[in-house]
């Protein structure tokens, strides 16, 4: 058997796992690992400028490909800097393996230099974690970590590696296991057939159905099955913020996003439906509004890989635990003959329901209102113009805030994995590094980061990494000179007291990006918008930053009325509610 040092084993195991990229930053505790990395060329390492960005890059890589993202960080501050990115991946169920250096085994617990209890500090935000005790454990531990991260409900796994474990002086037998099994971990592989049949019966006998699908369909690679089912049934469908793209956003059956900033038609259809088919979605508080008023007329079927997501906040009448792709495959097979038998009465009930929905749709809740002679750019128009300039075919990442909601509402996605944002944790600073991860995974595709002047500054140092690796990302900065979503709430709830939501001393973004060797544009009027965006998207080999000065008075609408509102209670425009 081959003899390798701990450090060489670690790198070899990653190679054997098929890892192509590692995002990381070296430091004392991982020097042996970095030396082993130096001696090979199968795995490419991307040197970041801050460890938080490394985790977001791995995350963007994972979201855009479905493959796990891999991160190297050193002990202490390297590890703690990674925690925000790990939590981001955890909340959105993204497969990721983080290898963190740890001080030497004999120093653990002595408050030694750059020591932190990484297993402890990351525990609430990982799917699982390991502290490696001996180099001989490395191959199996790494195999287990990838298995856990990518199976069942995916999530981040931390492997904490004390420095002595990777020491180059001691050699061990290396044998990478092909498979791994754990008696305490066996995620479901198919849905319960009895439950599936019950669901089919309900789908065929309801009058006002609604399909509500979430990030689970994207991460579970079930977009094709979902689309097939929805088209076959002819039912209306809405996607959560995390689920956009799982069903084509430009399709007639799609009612837009739902929830806090969902469309008038999607939220109303949710409220009035008599059957809700929830797929890979988790009834988040940003969806339900007041739980006791949620879907008051509906029976609920809930398909999810995670049993703990079922009946957590909203009771499911028919729970189906299983991988969404397998469950939907089975349902589609059983549905086809049933649909062929659908009665005329059933068909006319569905047509009536669609008529009601079309009535809501005619409200045109996303219509952008513009005063005559006003040359200011509305942020919504900037997103619409970007959609045109990219022909709707870009990977789009976002940060967090108003621009995120404008992107979700005004850039329809026709495919899963094209829309990448931090929905669960809501991490500002996510957009740029996530775009970098997506660009590295898809070097020939157009990757755009829609951001704001607040969020972009939370990881702006990564412009330097983009220079180093020649990443031709397009950054569209919806610059309203303030923390827009905070300001919107202050306008609506705090009588316009803008407590610390205004940023003085913004940099000249054009000059800033130029100093890194990138291209910068600034757009101030509506006439310039489309030509500049077209020009920016046409520059394929350079990072281009477009600073779009947008109307700072815009709010995101619709917006659910809270507290105590239901899903049909919405603000539609400033001062106008249902």
């Amino acid at each position: 058997m081959e003899k390798l040092s701990g450090g060489d084993m670690l790198i070899r195991a990653l190679q054997d796992e098929g890892v192509e990229y590692v995002f990381g930053y070296p430091g004392g505790a991982v020097l042996h690992i970095y030396d082993a990395l130096f001696k090979q060329n199968r795995i490419q390492h991307v040197l970041v400028r801050h460890e938080q960005a490394a985790t977001h890059m791995a995350d963007g890589y994972a979201r855009s490909t479905g493959r796990p993202g891999v991160v190297f960080v050193t002990s202490g501050p390297g590890a703690t800097n990674a925690v925000t990115g790990i939590a981001t991946a955890y909340m959105d169920s993204i497969p990721m393996v983080v290898l963190s250096g740890q001080v030497q085994s004999h120093l653990i617990g002595t408050d030694s230099f750059q020591e932190t209890d990484m297993v402890g500090i990351s525990r609430p935000v990982v799917k699982h974690s390991f502290l490696v005790r001996s180099a001989s454990e490395l191959p199996e531990t790494i195999k287990k970590a990838f298995f856990i991260a990518t199976s069942g409900r995916p999530g981040p796994v931390v492997i904490d590696v004390p420095k002595d474990v990777t020491s180059p002086t001691e050699l061990y037998d290396y044998d990478y296991p092909e498979t791994v099994s754990m008696r305490s971990y066996s995620p479901a592989t198919k849905g319960h057939t009895g439950q599936v049949k019950k669901a089919i019966k309900m789908l065929m006998s309801c009058e006002r159905p609604m399909i509500y699908s979430g990030g689970g369909v994207v991460q579970g690679n079930a977009a094709t099955q979902l689309t097939e089912m929805t088209r076959m049934l002819g039912f209306p469908i809405t996607n959560t913020l995390m689920g956009l793209g799982a069903y084509p956003g430009t399709d007639k059956q799609f009612l837009g996003m739902l929830g806090m900033h969902g469309t008038f038609e999607a939220n109303n259809a949710m409220h009035h439906c008599d059957l809700l088919l929830a797929i890979g979605a988790r009834f988040d508080d940003r969806i339900t509004n007041t739980v006791s008023k949620f879907c008051p007329y509906a029976e609920i079927i809930h398909i999810d890989i995670d049993p703990a997501s079922i009946s957590k906040t909203v009771n499911a009448d028919v729970p189906i635990v299983g991988p969404v792709d397998a469950v939907l495959d089975e349902m589609n097979r059983l549905l086809a003959p049933e649909i062929a038998k659908r009665s005329d009465n059933q068909k006319s009930l569905l047509a009536e329901w669609w008529e009601q929905i079309e009535g809501w749709r005619r409200q045109d809740c996303l219509k952008v209102l513009r005063d005559e002679g006003d040359t200011k750019i509305k942020p919504q128009e900037a997103v619409q113009a970007l959609y045109k300039a990219t022909k709707g075919d870009a990977y789009v990442t976002s940060d967090v805030g108003q621009h995120q909601m404008f992107a979700a509402l005004y850039y329809p996605f026709d495919e899963g994995r094209k829309w990448i944002n931090s929905g669960g944790l809501g991490t500002m600073g996510f957009g740029l590094p996530a775009a970098m991860g997506a660009q590295i995974a898809h070097p020939d595709d157009l990757v755009v980061c829609i951001t704001g002047e607040g969020s972009i500054q939370m990881n702006i140092q990564e412009l330097s990494t983009c220079s180093q690796y020649g990443l031709p990302i397009k950054i569209v900065n919806l610059n309203n000179g303030s923390l827009g979503m905070v300001k919107q709430w202050q306008d609506m709830i705090y009588e316009g007291r803008h407590s610390h939501s205004y940023m003085e001393s913004l940099p000249d973004f054009v000059k800033l990006v130029e100093s890194y060797g990138h291209v910068g544009f600034k757009v101030e009027t509506i006439d310039e918008l489309e030509p500049v965006l077209n020009e920016a998207m046409a520059i394929r080999n350079k990072l281009v930053f477009v600073d779009v000065l947008v109307d700072p008075s815009e709010h995101v609408y619709p917006m659910l009325v809270a507290p105590n509102g239901s899903m049909r209670d919405m603000w539609l425009r400033k001062g106008v509610r249902t």
Binding site: H128, R183, S184, P307, A308
Partner: protein, 163 residues
């Protein structure tokens, strides 16, 4: 409602902290907790009691099941079960109180396991209610120190929790 959740889990470093952390993180309470390796050294058996509604206990058991190191678990209070808790109690035992304390311990089938001129240490095993009753039966002022093990339990009959 009081629940007894019995968990079979991998006997590995860090497994216990994951269970405890889960309760803290999700705002569930732990009333008592006891844990030790089983006859199979690779496994630990953890028993905890908590106060939770039906919905809460459903979430607690689901979330516990998601922990990678948890092999199996059961809510013992769902069915017939046996529960026991051990209490060691150091009491003042002087003068007339000395004989009275011995009699009360006998009534509760307690054993005096350590004796000095002025104190007894009594060992009592039973349900938590029984231990509470003993504490109520003796003068409060006589209690010097109490230590309780937390509840352990098993299902009645031949049903077992195993891998």
């Amino acid at each position: 409602m009081r629940r007894i959740i019995s968990v079979l889990m991998e006997n590995e470093a860090g497994a216990l902290s994951r269970v405890i952390g889960l309760f803290a993180q999700r705002n569930y309470n732990i009333e008592t907790l006891t844990v030790a390796p089983t006859e199979d050294e690779t496994l630990s058996r953890l028993t905890l009691t908590t106060f939770a509604s039906d919905e809460q206990v459903e979430q607690i058991t689901k979330q516990l099941n998601k922990l990678i190191e948890v092999v199996k678990l059961v809510d013992l209070t769902e069915g017939d079960h046996i529960e026991r808790e051990l209490m060691l109690i150091k009491v003042k035992a002087t003068g007339a109180q000395r004989a009275e304390m011995k009699r009360t311990a006998d009534i509760f089938r307690g054993q005096i396991i350590d004796v000095t001129q002025n104190a007894y240490t009594i060992q009592l095993a039973g349900t938590s209610d029984k231990l509470d009753a003993f504490l109520r039966a003796i003068p409060e002022a006589s209690v010097m120190e109490v230590v309780r093990s937390g509840v352990s339990g098993l299902s009645r009959g031949e049903k077992v929790l195993s891998t």
